[in-house]
Symmetry: C2
Subunit: 368 residues, 2 copies
């Protein structure tokens, strides 16, 4: 399943006809929708002038404009979007493909992305790929097909041919939720590895040595990969053996987080901290801990990532990494528009994350 968000909009005309001409007798007023031409005639000007009235009013003298606008009004004219796109080679539409709509993370960032686009006169078309690369590929084609002027993608990880396709179609694209200035396309996001590394550093500083992690599926997900990598690096830097990181991969669902946590707790020796790939997973872990009668953070610490609303609501409140999603959405929109309008070649922008200390992380049990 996919979903699209549309903001604002232009207009068009369309009527259906079908081979199946049923013998309808009521072919009454088959007066079809008015076109630019009709307006032009009604206003006694050329179609060019009407077009200019609508698209760059200042290039038309007041009196004429009045006359045209009135004709538009009285005819109930609505420009045909498809025709406009064809002629102008521009749709003022931006496409975005996100992995899922079920996660508040993307919703929040996208909302801001959309608002920003709207302000600049663009419409957003969103669709979700359900973390399936094939679906994503299909949707990219669909969005390009529908005339998207630019595309927002999540993370860099995808087949090269997709980038080639975008290149060929000359569709500027931007990656978000990830930051890597050396990659193409440019990205507006945060360093997942660094952010998670910082959190891991905090964990290690607190005295934890037996570290476990519940990660999202890393396959085809550079954010998930980077988060794991961040933990590994922090371990190495602190003289720990990164290979001893107990890793559990699962999809981003609360139930899965609970399940993974259960498995982790069954191991012996038990990890003293469970770092989760995101807050949703962490919420699941917390729920399972409660069910199992394991006290967090007294017996085991838990950390999250993203700092969505959930993080504050659960008990204990999550120690997590705050990601300024709205800021990211806003900056991504600005940059992508600049690319589409040719005022930028595409810059990568790094968004700062911030550790949020709450209650789910403490010293390991038995520590003094």
């Amino acid at each position: 399943m996919q979903a699209l968000t549309l903001v604002d909009g232009i207009s068009a005309v369309l009527w259906y006809d079908e081979g199946q001409d049923t013998d309808r007798h009521d072919m009454g007023k088959t007066r079809s929708a008015p076109t630019l031409n009709d307006v032009a005639k009604a206003a006694g000007v050329s179609t060019a002038t009407v077009s200019r009235c609508l698209n760059s009013p200042d290039r038309v003298i007041e009196a004429t404009r009045q006359r045209v606008l009135q004709a538009v009004e009285s005819l109930g004219y609505t420009p045909n979007f498809a025709a406009r796109v064809m002629a102008a080679k521009r749709s003022y539409t931006i496409g975005a493909i996100i992995p899922t709509m079920d996660n508040a993370i993307f919703a929040r960032g996208l909302q801001e992305f959309q608002d920003q686009l709207r302000e600049s006169g663009y419409t957003l078309l969103v669709s979700s790929s359900a973390y399936d690369p094939e679906v994503e590929r299909e949707q990219i084609r669909t969005l390009v097909a529908r005339g998207a002027d630019g595309l927002l993608l999540i993370g860099h990880a995808r087949d090269a041919d997709i980038y080639a396709y975008l290149e060929r179609h000359q569709i500027p694209s931007l990656v978000a939720w990830s930051y890597d200035p050396h990659m193409h396309p440019p990205s507006v996001g945060f360093g997942n590895a660094a952010a998670m590394g910082e959190l891991a550093q905090r964990v290690i500083s607190a005295g934890h040595r037996r570290i476990a992690m519940i990660s999202g599926i890393t396959q085809g997900n550079d954010r998930a990969q980077a988060r794991v990598e961040g933990v590994r690096q922090a371990m190495t830097e602190n003289g720990l053996n990164a290979d001893e990181l107990t890793l559990c991969e699962t999809t981003y669902e609360i139930d899965k987080g609970a399940e993974a946590f259960g498995k982790l707790m069954a191991r012996s020796p038990r990890p003293t901290v469970v770092m989760c790939g995101n807050d949703v997973l962490a919420a699941g872990a917390l729920r399972e801990a409660q069910r199992l009668g394991i006290s967090v953070p007294d017996q085991v610490s838990v950390t999250g990532f993203d700092d969505i609303e959930l993080a504050e609501i659960v008990t204990p409140a999550l120690t997590t990494v705050h990601v300024p999603h709205r800021e990211m959405g806003r900056k991504a929109a600005r940059e992508l528009i600049a690319m589409v309008e040719g005022t930028s070649e595409g810059r990568s922008i790094c968004i700062d994350t911030r550790l949020v200390d709450r209650c789910s992380l403490a010293e390991p049990p038995g520590a003094q």
Copy 2:
């Protein structure tokens, strides 16, 4: 804000250019996206044949088709959606405008609607109007502008000029979540009045006389209006004075339901039953009841409408009206497609609702 859902899709080409010609030196391979013409040349056939290969493969001989398909493949050709829409006057896109995406009710029905459309090769574009008629009007234009072959609307209540506009543009439309065979456009839905009336009948039969209702905003919402009307009629039929119905209108939010319930409980004499316009409102009422220490259904009964997941989860579980949303979505899709394809003039279809007895409705306190 609006939101669109897109399923499946065709394709297109588009490249951006902008007055601002930055002096880029890397004007390397400006080979733009391939068109039908390119494919035709590559395959050594006419554009008509390529088009036929893609749209009605059986009208082209096997050998030719092979050749064409291979050219398509090797060129990485993607048809231009806008051009296709223009030429064919058909977009295989259906638009839907729902009042809100926050309500599980529409989500569920739409999901099915969408799946059904997809099966028939149509794409769904959804947008939400936030219950604002002006926004809805705008979105209808936008959807028509984007070439929707048909439109799904919720409820009949909207200005006549909108229907005129749709008529003029020859866009078949269908109303859902409401049923009234005498109205235009045709509707696929359920009798809101009858369904609510049935529930009210049950309430009255249980012995309730002091009835209160928390309704959604009835202004511009024929479903809400009909539900109120249903209660009124049932009262009248049972010899009660419909004017004595204590009515509280509010938006469909859980908090608002709670608030309204609080006000109702402050009245004296207190109603013995609070019938809610939907389950969300009822959930709010239940929450407030708990907060106020009012026992449901011992001290006061509460009913819902829709039977969404929530209805089973709350305590006590809601006595409500079950609406088969999926069935409605499916039938609406089929009917709308038939209308778009000219095989139906538009029939109205009534979906049966069903009372669901759970625990929130009991006899009034003090009844024997």
